[in-house]
Symmetry: C2
Subunit: 528 residues, 2 copies
């Protein structure tokens, strides 16, 4: 860790940060998106990419190194002049080609020296990208090779004697323990930026639940101060979720590859130009043109590809601004709530993150709720909670999933430590409509607020209890509230608890311990 | 009904339609947004509003009529030339001023004649906008006045002898039965376009649940072929929900009023310019400027107001294109799913629409589920189902709420009518992992698919059963599936039913009739 990254602000596990890039004598604000520039085929000029909002881009040093036309010019002019881009340039090493073709002809020392020589600001060693679902033996042995190369990289002159930042990719296929170990080992090299590698197949197959697992396992092995790059993540539909997990850098070849194929990015998925009757976007391209205008152009035309690529980048940078504004404001999880509705697989990833539900079919270690509620298994909500600010703007309770947000987890953990004097009695009840008789003999009055559960009156005006909630609660909000009551009751075995509710479903209140005295205000008679 | 409106395509209750405007010798595609132009204060020139996407706008004939400067020019040049707009012009009548100031100085005959004389394409009588929560007596008596005026309007020369379309506003405060009756009476006048009036206070106070009630009650009283205008609805955050309920026309003064106040519209709510560090948008304004650029301008400056108004219109027309593309594609409810996460009050409106949950506190007629699940009361899902296409692109199951979509309601209604031969036995089970022994003695094998429930194998490849679903189900998906099984079982008392599930929560399967033989495949032993 060479200390080139600073976190300025957290929301959930996401952060606004600053990556110092000494060689470019500048800083990059994160989260950042690095458009991928193919040295041979430029759908958009790099200078234009800069105009559209890129502070940093990524190109492939292995392609430059292997090109008879481009190698010498890259060495002579430097990669910035060659591309005509005056921002920060990161270079990849050929690992992708290694994964695709099985071998490449350079070593880590050679390619890092070349990256240094062409003036790259952020260089990359030749790691081994083990694909998802590889066997454990393969994953472990390739990880050992990757780690050797990272250690080599850390001691090359390119890393040691130059101010080029060097990345330390984290591999380990879909084995969480290997990802965590790989991350710890990568961090121990003292290199600068940590790409989570070989996740493109997971994203391509919409395996967002597995992606959550891989990212969080990798994060567990990294120090909190490590800048994390989600390698190959370029679809704006997943930026909010990935940032909420603590990813700082993204790169996108999609904007150009998709454009060449007539595909159109949106935050709700990918559309094919031929399927659009209206442009579902307000970017400069989509306000100037109709789909019919582009459909009328030749599929191979540079103009059509350029316009689609510009749209694709506009929506990507626009989404990044939305994510940054949400981070700043403290409503990143509200944005995630919205974004995951784009596809059931994203909902699945979000549920995995929050520990909701589980595929019980082929999974031995699934846990179940007591005898009610959906099956649950541990999520990563405690890891989100650790960096989530104590206070923010108003909490918006907008779905079943939001009943499992870090704020509710944190409150429940507090309830489990809440120490009430033995022998006292408390009433947990709504703020209004409670007959005075119910307060008789009660020492303390708590509020009953789904999805939080019991809330001390003194905290009612504090975050998150000033939440905006729908009048119509879903089952998950009741369940979370009951869980909160259980936590408080279990922590205080010597306290008498009366709870008054307004017609809550019997199946929900059945989850409360017997010793809670229940009153249903909607029928005005004790439940039991 | 003069037959000037044609529905081209439905999704849920939303429609793509064509409003014929004889006087303008053109048609308007719906859903359409009518920017409001104040004749005295033009934040944006009407011609510029046309460039930004408006085919139709609305201005106030009462203001023109009462203006010493503008009345004569309006009569001489016509309203189109006066405004410099060559699209369709609708005019309002002064009802808003009536509501604000208690009286106005024109009659319906006078103002309609004036609207006709200035060349308006769509005119409006002077209805009485009864505010939400008015008493029933007030609402009924004002409704009687409104209806008299609509009948007057229908027989004025302005309506009878001209090809100007005339609107018939629907009032009735927050009384569903009055709204329904008002709509029926309005339709009986033979007028052309049906604004749902006096809903601005509901939207201003985020009472989207009440808005849903008012809109659906009004729709019940109107023929399906009536074009419906949601008067005063100009915030893009609610377009998708309003269109899904069958609203066709919207008008926006917000784009300009908000701009003058430094407020910035997004599909996720309203921001104040001063609170923005990044523009969460990709429109031409937001890609050319940073918030700091606009913050540096004088609050009163025309430039700042113009830029904010242009952004506000870009995002409004962009959202309208997204809604139209979703209508065309058949995924409007998926878009609604996404949009309602912007605010708990929108979630509440969506839950009201689908009949999920209920505020049990002050509402006598709330119904409850058996003894489990959230309290429910009737929603409007049957009304969405009536016009929802039988087949579409893939169904995306993306939330607890989506378990109550029209597709699931329709399937459950079918199950309740499904007639299996008496004496047969069926197995309802997942598609995989079912031991052969379970099929012994079974006459028919059905699939068990949350959130749908039991699905005949022959339909498994048809919409909506090809749904994309998360691997992790929420409680609502299980509940809906169990409800489906109950429907089938109850409809077939003479049929033996065995159901095999993979570790479903006990509280969920407890809702099944005793005679269903349950097998939990995750424990491989019969449940009972």
């Amino acid at each position: 860790m060479t200390g080139h990254f600073e976190v300025d602000h957290y929301d959930a596990r996401g952060r606004l940060g600053t990556l110092e890039v000494p060689r470019a004598d500048t800083t990059v604000e994160t989260p950042a998106l690095l458009p991928v520039v193919n040295p041979h085929v430029q759908t958009l000029e790099p200078s234009r990419i800069g105009d559209l909002g890129a502070e940093i881009l990524i190109t492939n040093s292995y392609v430059l190194h292997g090109s008879d036309e481009l190698r010498e010019p890259a060495l002579e002019q430097g990669v910035h002049d060659l591309l005509g881009f005056d921002g920060v340039v990161m270079t990849d090493s050929g690992s992708f080609q290694l994964a695709e073709y099985g071998e490449i002809t350079v070593t880590t020392e050679e390619i890092l020296a070349f990256q240094e020589a062409i003036g790259s600001d952020v260089g990359t060693p030749v790691d081994i990208p083990t694909p998802p679902d590889a066997g454990r033996d393969q994953a472990e042995s390739e990880l050992a090779t990757t780690q050797e190369r990272l250690e080599t990289a850390a001691s090359t002159p390119a890393a040691e004697d130059s101010d080029m930042l060097v990345t330390a990719p984290v591999q380990g296929a879909t084995f969480p323990d290997l990802r965590e170990r790989a991350a710890r080992d990568a961090a121990s090299t003292g290199l600068d930026v940590f790409p989570i590698g070989a996740v493109v197949p997971l994203m391509g197959e919409y395996r967002f639940s597995d992606l959550v697992e891989v990212v969080l396992a990798s994060k567990r092995g990294l120090p909190e101060s490590a800048p994390v790059h989600l390698f190959g993540a370029g679809h704006p539909m997943m930026f909010a979720l990935a940032v909420a997990m603590g990813c700082d850098l993204f790169d996108s070849a999609a904007y150009a590859l998709y454009a060449r194929d007539g595909r159109y990015l949106t935050v709700r998925g990918t559309e094919h130009l031929d399927d659009l009757a209206y442009f579902p976007c307000e970017c400069p391209v989509c306000t100037e043109y109709d789909p019919a205008d582009l459909q009328a152009m030749d599929e191979e035309s540079d103009e059509r590809q350029r316009l689609l690529a510009e749209h694709n980048l506009h929506v990507s940078f626009g989404e990044l601004r939305r994510v940054k504004q949400a981070l700043r404001r403290g409503d990143l999880l509200e944005l995630v709530e919205t974004r995951v509705r784009a596809h059931p697989a994203l909902v699945d990833g979000y549920r995995r993150l929050l520990g909701i539900g589980g595929d019980t079919r082929f999974d031995e270690d699934t846990e179940f709720g007591e005898d009610d509620g959906p099956p649950t298994r541990p999520g990563f909500v405690a890891e989100l909670e650790a960096t989530d600010p104590i206070t923010k703007d108003t909490f918006f309770h907008t779905s079943a999933e939001s009943s499992r947000r870090p704020e509710i987890y944190r409150h429940h953990e507090r309830l489990a430590r809440f120490d009430l004097p033995a022998g006292t009695s408390i009433l947990i009840a709504p703020s209004e409509g409670v007959p005075a008789a119910l307060e008789a003999g009660v020492d303390e009055r708590w509020l009953l607020l789904p999805p939080f559960g019991p809330v001390p009156r003194s905290l009612a005006d504090a975050y998150p209890f000033t939440a905006e909630v729908p009048e119509r609660f879903c089952r998950a909000a009741y369940d979370a509230a009951v869980e909160g009551v259980c936590r408080l009751v279990e922590a205080n075995p010597e306290v008498a608890v009366r709870m008054a509710h307004e017609g809550w479903p019997a199946g929900v209140v059945a989850g409360l311990p017997e010793r809670v005295e229940l009153v249903d205000l909607s029928t005005s008679s004790p439940d039991r």
